[in-house]
């Protein structure tokens, strides 16, 4: 295991070392201490390694991640796992705004709450939040799954494309073109898998599914007067 004191070594040195890791690296487990809310920790990794961060981080932790498993023993600032491609990011605490934004793949798990714009413009990532999420979450989300074990804030799934949203608790309000949908057996199966991957003991049957009503997909001729 490699241990990195971020306050001593600095961010550049850490991220350069992480970027040097290739497919067949032997240095598979990394520990980062004293993150102290610093930004851009463990961004842009492309190797099957495990990175354990002991403490809370700032903006963009684990952004653009490919393959790596990143565990944060604390809370994260805005944009955690932004544009993740694959791998897994697990946050023990809370996440600030736009967690998992634009993510293409992989799994983001937030064991606390996530604030506004969680999963905004997600493009294939799976996000599981054990707590609640804030307003404007999954705005223009294109594909992937957002699972919320608590409640969702205002305007959930506004202008949604084909991402699937599952909420166990209440939804304060749905955004434009987002509607509740039927839970079919394949959705229960999907939730079973995502919840077990996220160490969450919630029952799939307790969730409601929300998706796109698809009324914004094509121009509606009745609106032509507005232009």
């Amino acid at each position: 295991m490699l241990k990195f004191d971020l306050q001593e070594m600095g961010l550049r040195k850490l991220n350069n070392a992480l970027h040097d890791q290739k497919e067949n690296t032997n240095q598979t487990i990394w520990e980062i201490i004293n993150p102290k809310g610093s930004h851009a920790i463990a961004v842009g990794i492309d190797a099957p390694i495990e990175v354990n961060i002991k403490g809370s981080t700032g903006y963009y932790c684990g952004g653009m991640n490919k393959q790596a498993i990143i565990n944060v023993k604390g809370s994260v600032g805005p944009g955690v796992a932004e544009n993740m491609m694959s791998g897994k990011v697990v946050v023990e605490g809370d996440a600030s705004q736009y967690a998992g934004a634009t993510g293409h793949g992989g799994l983001l798990v937030i064991k606390g709450n996530a604030s506004s714009r969680c999963g905004i413009s997600m493009k294939g990532i799976n996000i599981v939040v054990h707590g609640n999420i804030g307003h404007m979450s999954a705005f223009m989300a294109q594909s992937g799954n957002l699972v919320v074990c608590g409640d969702a804030g205002d305007a959930l799934g506004d202008s949604l494309y084909e991402a699937k949203l599952f909420v166990r608790g209440s939804v304060k309000s749905l955004g434009a073109d987002c509607e509740e949908k039927e839970m079919r057996p394949e959705h229960i199966e999907l939730l079973k898998y995502l919840l077990s991957e996220s160490e969450c003991d919630a029952k799939p049957e307790e969730f409601s599914r929300y998706g796109s009503a698809r009324t914004l997909y094509n121009f509606n001729i009745d609106n032509s007067d507005a232009y």
Binding site: K36, G37, S38, S75, G77, P78, D94, S96, S116
Partner: protein, 298 residues
């Protein structure tokens, strides 16, 4: 951008370290706004005395003998404690209303940064660490304080464009964000007779709150109505004699993190600003909700 910090002490034993803790928090936020910085400190007040903070670019000359001239003009004992480009003036409460006019007639170049009984505001152009050093903020004590480091977007980088802005007796405002309807609101407020000095958007926000309160609103009500009448992005932190308040616009894209322990309540634009506070590992840390007014009082 812009960075905001705030610290409200519950534990009186930390009061002696307030300036030091706030300074460290503000310097950490330098990346968010390196062009000017300011601090509002709520220190002990003397009973029966008012306190003004004043500023002059020519302080060496302007503050010379100022206490004598003010004493003569106001007919009460006036103290002037010079601190770099600023000075703290104390005088009998009865002379409070006459002070601005008296000061203007002695030297119209001197600006009033704050008025009240415990509030002191220090702000200048420059990096937070330089501004803090200039006024020796680290050595100051107090019960609560707020700080701001500015990255100007709406108006010029000047002393008067820096935050905090005084909004009334012992009240001040700092802002992260940008108001988009400040020109029309400034015109409206000027028509109402409100004095607005600069082209700065936050000054309009501050003047709006002052105007609301002069017309009978409480600070809480004024902040509530700011959610309706101010257009744009804002995270506001307001200081009052008893404590501080926080409000974010409904979209809430300007960041805010709070931490609370038995000893203090702290505000930071980023968690980084809070990491060196005592026992931060045990603090309850959360993000204030959008369009919600929060207050902490002693």
């Amino acid at each position: 951008m812009c960075g905001i910090v705030g610290l409200f002490l519950k534990d009186a034993s930390l009061e002696i370290s307030l300036g030091n803790l706030l300074s460290e928090m503000l310097v950490t936020m330098t990346d968010r706004g390196p062009d000017s910085a300011g601090i509002a400190i709520y220190a002990q007040k003397e009973s029966g005395r008012s306190k003004f903070t004043i500023q002059s670019d020519d302080s060496g000359h302007a503050f010379n003998d100022l206490h004598k001239e003010l004493t003569k003009s106001l007919g009460c004992k006036v103290n002037v404690q010079v601190n770099n480009t600023h000075a703290v003036v104390t005088l009998d409460e009865g002379a409070t209303n006459k002070f601005p006019e008296a000061l203007k007639s002695i030297n119209p170049q001197i600006r009033i940064m704050s008025l009240g009984s415990s509030l002191e505001i220090y702000k200048e152009v420059g990096l937070p660490k330089n501004v803090i050093q200039r006024f020796n903020i680290s050595k100051m004590s107090g019960r609560h304080g707020i700080g701001h480091t500015r990255m100007a977007t709406e108006s010029a980088v000047t002393t008067m464009g820096a935050h905090p802005f005084n909004t009334g007796l012992d009240q001040c405002l700092v802002h992260n964000g940008s108001l988009s309807n400040h020109n029309s609101l400034r015109r409206r407020l000027r028509r109402e007779g409100v004095h607005i000095e600069t082209e700065n958007d936050t000054e309009v926000g501050a003047a709006y709150l002052t105007w609301k309160m002069q017309n009978g609103a409480s600070l809480d009500e004024a902040l509530q109505s700011s959610l309706e009448n101010l257009d744009g992005f804002f995270t506001f932190v307001v200081g009052t004699e008893d404590g501080f308040g926080v409000v974010r616009d409904p979209i809430a894209c300007k960041p805010a993190v709070m931490a609370e322990t038995d000893q203090y309540v702290a505000f930071g634009s980023e968690y980084r600003a809070l990491v060196n506070l005592p026992e931060i590992e045990r603090a309850q840390v959360w993000e204030p909700e959008p369009a919600t007014v929060y207050f902490w009082k002693h």
